[in-house]
Amino acid sequence: MLRLPDFTFRRPKDLREAAAILAGEGSRAMLVAGGTDLWPKMKRRQMEPRVVIGLRHLSDLRGVSGSPTTGVSLGANITLRELEREPMLLDRYPAVAEGAHSISSPPLKTMGTLGGNLCVDTRCFYYDQTYEWRQSIHFCLKKDGDTCWVAPGSSRCWAVSSTDLAPVMLALNSRLHLLSNSGERTIEAGQLYNPDGIAYLKKRPDEIVTKVDLPPINGDITAFRKLRRRGSIDFPILNVAAWIRPSKKGRVVEAARIAIGGITSAPFLSVVAANSLIGRELNADSIHEAAQAARLESRPLDNTDLDFSWRRQMVEVWVRRTLEDVTRRL
């Protein structure tokens, strides 16, 4: 069997104690909630913390509060299973429920959390492998080596963002609450992500994501689509989240955000695509133009399942279909 290395597990009594331990242990420690990302990585020696701080049991991190008209707060420890079934999300913020629904598989959704998915590690064929496998290729830039095997001439790591909920939060322009021993702050979701495969999160290592605030939704429409080979289990090789604010008069777009994930090291907003819709009706032409623009902005590399130039073509199709979903929901 593949087994965990030796380590110390800490189960803090509350959030403040968790933050204190994290601050004290520094780089020796990592956080775990559902464990669906950390434990496999530790078994493969991709991550080797001496101390693991468990957050799963902390009730401070649970709960749904607020309303679609004033904004909804989601605790970081809400499980993906809870998110995908939450009636208020299904009804008013469908992209959040759909995003959660699309992740991994049912048993993993029982365990996985909102916070965990937002912070999930970037992935790559040359990195998500056991220690011995990586030794065969002399390791890689992200862990223990000098070369990025996806782009051997590159000085940066190109591991891919593999979260389904981050693009949704970018599209919604949600806010994230971060807590550490030295205080709390909130940031826009987009400010969490850094286009680098190694330093892919801009939060400090001692900060804990505690809550996600969804903005008031009112008449705004959201939609989400994911691309993966199989109907379950697989990580995204592309995902699209769209948020459209229609004008009072129906189909004219007043504001828009289109977020794309699974393509580069950070989820990104396709600003050109979104801007192309402003002031226009959502119809076949405007959608086509937006989808094309999104494709041009997307440059996947060969580090996930299926052919990367095909994935680039699919950006256009997936953006188009996501915008068609929005249109149906108007």
């Binding site: 064929f125 109907g231 379950s232 990580f235 299926l306 095909w310």
Partner: protein, 804 residues
């Protein structure tokens, strides 16, 4: 054949079903012995290298480490085929693939063994790795295996049955097609595991997740230099085999040796990645087929060439190379047939037998090619096949004996059930139907090591309590072979099969059965069981007849009793019948065995292909292709399988559905790719196997025309239904969007590329572009049956040929 069957043909539970659903089945990793140690293997991280030095002292001195084993302690090689016993338990001076075992460590627990492995350093001197067929064809001074024929070309095969060149020249239509079937692996859910113990009296016992305990037994005796009678191999029920657990493995031998060195039981359980390194899966095969037909649709000849990317060691590969040329002739009459095959070593985990054993690849090529031929001739592909069908009780060009062949009814049934005639070439763009057929052996006619002994033996013990125990060396890998034995014996002796005790796969206790591979088990163990059971019933009838004063031939065995067919009140219950027989004859025990009939193929290499009988399948797939994305959605699969007779239709349908699942998994997503000398996807996430969300409906039609050779007329079902799936899929894709994908897996990108090429006025096809030239040594020429041949090879015709 009996008139009324009470057990055979019934959808009964399996004898081990209750244990399986209760989680009580003892798989190899569930075996626990007192004072047990745990072993781990250190494996090569280089694809091709000399081993310069192994530094293990840091591991040796670790607390909890009890023994370290190096390759030099086991210098004798092994390998499943006598012609390629090229594997060392642990590599000694050379490694040939990433993942090859080099050192074994036994420690008090697996964590300690793993830590110990990480403290061992191996110094390598890299050699150039050979990672593809084109690489393998190039000349070299330092081949991967020194015993290969030419450089890294292990072996070439060239057979010609009838003058094929002239037959093709006389065709009205000639097709030349190149196909590629990517390599894939079994991915059983259970990882390999084994436990060994060396008893104080010098007896070695090994439990293992193996499909072939008899071959493991032989390998242990050979490598450990011990008499086989002092070794016991127990095959645990397999958590999936599919051919991946049919070789003797390094980890089995290593754990046995560690048990001998430490005097304690030793267990090893492989990680998923290590299972990918054991591999023994489907060979990637590049193929070229030249097919000739007359304008009336009759086939004139076929010249088929295959190139196999073998991996670093032989495994079953030589046999499989022959299999890539053997069964082309079994479904449609081919008057002249030439086959040329070549196998090339590469620095990858060795390929071996995976469900279909080298036959799915050529079947893929020929079923697509026939589809192309039908289109060029303007005929329905079903009609083209029906017109060319092989006749029952006939010989093929390559001297295979076809007995029953239910393929006509298979084709007719799937055509009818699917609504083919209203759909083929008539559905809107993006929807299509495709047809393909297949044929597979019911057990290889010859054993892996040449001998004259039975391939299967069954012993029966009849107890005074009425309990019957069946002993047989076969292994239940999930296909239900234990249950088949119980059903057959239960039918003949008239007793409840679920109360029969079945003891299998134990080399101390059970008579030899060669193992669960080549779909041999139902036919061979079944026939042996029939013989043993009929002998037992003879004794019982004799004693009961005397007791009841009724003629023997009026006695019927059913419902746990033996009674007079004319007056069922005159009966004895089964237990009493056994007691009567024991009183008359002494302790009751009977034996049955089975050896396949001699084959008509007498030429060298003709040992691969013959079988007591063959199963046949036909399938229609209906699917949708999204032309914007190339993504395929399978709507439905209709599959008809010529089973002869279903011993248990529920189990038969289960095998059909499982074969369909695996065949379509291969067609759509299973593939082995190597980068930087390493297996790119050695995990269950990245090596794709369809989930419950990827399924479609399957309609199974069983064609039952009992074959006299099979037990109650039964033929195989565990492998045959897989064969039509990949070509039927590709044929359906063509019907849907009119592009040819001449390779698998069929990914969305390949379909879009083919569509794009077509839209640019080029050929609407995605597939291999070329086929490398190789020199064939010792081509053989064999007259086919209809030209007065005798099954032997004759002198070469005037021309000698180099490979095309």
């Amino acid at each position: 054949m009996p008139d009324k069957l009470n057990v055979v043909g019934q959808p009964l539970r399996k004898v081990d079903a209750a244990a399986k659903v209760a989680g009580r089945t003892i798989f190899a990793d569930d075996v626990v012995l007192p004072n047990m140690l745990y072993a781990k293997l250190l494996r090569s991280t280089r694809p091709h290298a000399r081993i310069i030095n192994i530094e293990a002292s840091a591991a040796e001195t670790m607390e909890g480490v009890k023994s370290i084993l190096l390759g030099s302690e086991l210098p004798i090689t092994f390998g499943i085929l006598p012609v390629s016993q090229d594997e060392h338990t642990l590599a000694i001076d050379r490694v040939r693939y990433v993942g090859e075992p080099i050192v074994a460590v036994a420690a008090v627990d697996e964590e300690t063994a793993e830590d110990a492995i990480r403290r061992i350093t191996v110094e390598y001197e890299d050699l150039p790795p050979i990672m593809s067929i084109p690489d393998g064809v190039r000349a070299t001074d330092d081949p991967i295996q020194a015993y290969a024929e030419q450089g890294n070309i292990h072996k070439t095969i060239s057979f010609e049955f009838g003058e094929t060149k002239s037959a093709l020249e006389q065709s009205d239509l000639i097709l030349d097609d190149t196909f590629f079937y990517q390599g894939n692996t079994h991915l059983p859910l259970e990882q390999h595991a084994a436990v060994a113990v060396y008893q104080p009296d010098g007896k070695l016992v090994l439990w293992s997740a193996t499909q072939t305990p008899h071959y493991v037994h032989r390998a242990l005796a050979r490598v450990l230099e011990m008499p086989a009678s002092r070794i016991q191999v127990i095959a645990c029920p397999n958590g999936g085999g599919f051919g991946g657990k049919s070789d003797p493995f390094s980890h089995e031998i290593a754990v046995a040796k560690l048990a001998m060195k430490t005097g304690r039981p030793v267990k090893i359980a492989l990680t998923r990645e290590e299972v990918f390194y054991c591999h023994r899966g489907r060979h990637p095969v590049l193929m070229h087929s030249r097919l000739g037909l007359k304008k009336d649709g009759s086939i004139t000849g076929m010249h088929f060439k295959t190139r196999l990317d073998v991996g670093a060691y032989g495994s079953y590969g030589v046999a499989i190379t022959y299999y890539t040329g053997a069964l082309q002739t079994t479904t449609y009459h081919i008057p002249a047939y030439k086959f040329e095959g070549a196998r090339l070593f590469t620095n990858k985990p060795p390929c071996g037998p995976k469900r279909g054993h080298g036959t799915p690849q050529p079947r893929f090529g020929m079923e697509i090619q026939l589809d192309k031929a039908a289109e060029l001739l303007g005929v329905d592909p079903a009609e083209l096949r029906l017109q060319n069908l092989v006749q029952p009780n006939s010989l093929t060009a390559n001297w295979l004996t076809i007995r029953t062949i239910g393929l006509r009814r298979c084709i007719e049934k799937v055509i009818e059930a699917s609504g083919w005639k209203s759909k083929f070439r008539k559905l809107p763009f993006g929807r299509g139907v495709g047809l393909a057929c297949g044929c597979y052996l019911t057990g290889a006619g010859l054993p892996i090591y040449w001998n004259n002994m039975p391939q299967s033996g069954v012993q029966l013990k009849l107890d005074r309590s009425g309990l019957v125990t069946v002993f047989c060396g076969s292994t239940d890998i999930g296909q239900g072979s234990d249950s088949i034995l119980a059903y057959i014996v239960g039918e003949i002796l008239g007793i409840d099969p679920l109360h029969i005790r079945v003891v299998t796969g134990d080399t101390d206790l059970t008579p030899v059965d060669l193992g669960s591979y080549s779909s041999r088990v139902t036919l061979m163990t079944g026939n042996a069981a029939i013989q043993a059971a009929e002998r037992a019933r003879e004794l019982l009838n004799d004693a009961v007849a005397a007791e009841l004063k009724v003629p023997k031939d009026r006695l019927v065995a059913a419902d746990n009793r033996i009674f007079d067919s004319e007056d069922s009140a005159k009966c004895v219950d089964f237990a009493k019948a056994v007691q009567l027989a024991e009183a008359k004859f002494g302790t009751i025990g009977t034996v049955g065995s089975y050896k396949p009939p001699a084959s008509a193929a007498k030429y060298k290499g003709g040992g691969v292909g013959p079988s007591p009988t063959y199963s046949f399948s036909a399938s229609v797939i209906e699917l949708e292709v999204d032309p914007q994305t190339g993504i395929i959605r399978i709507e439905k699969v209709w599959i008809a399988h010529d089973i002869g007779r279903s011993i248990n239709p529920m189990l038969v349908i289960g095998q059909v559905e499982g074969s369909v699942y695996m065949g379509l998994g291969e067609a759509l997503m299973e593939e082995q790719e190597f980068r930087l000398g390493v297996h790119k996807t050695p995990s269950m996430l990245d090596y794709k196997s369809p989930t419950s969300m990827d399924m479609y409906s399957i309609e199974t039609i069983l064609i039952e025309e009992p074959d006299p050779v099979g037990p109650f007329g039964a033929k195989e079902v565990g492998q045959g239904p897989l064969l039509p799936m990949p070509p039927a899929l590709c044929n359906a894709v063509y019907d849907a969007v009119r592009v040819r994908i001449d390779e698998i897996p069929v990914t969305p990108e390949k379909i879009l590329r083919a569509l794009k090429a077509k839209s640019q006025g080029k050929e609407g096809r995605f597939g291999p572009q070329s086929f490398p030239t190789i020199e064939y040594r010792d081509p053989m020429f064999i007259l086919p049956p209809w030209s007065g041949g005798d099954g032997r090879s004759s002198a070469q015709p005037e021309y000698t040929r180099k490979g095309l």
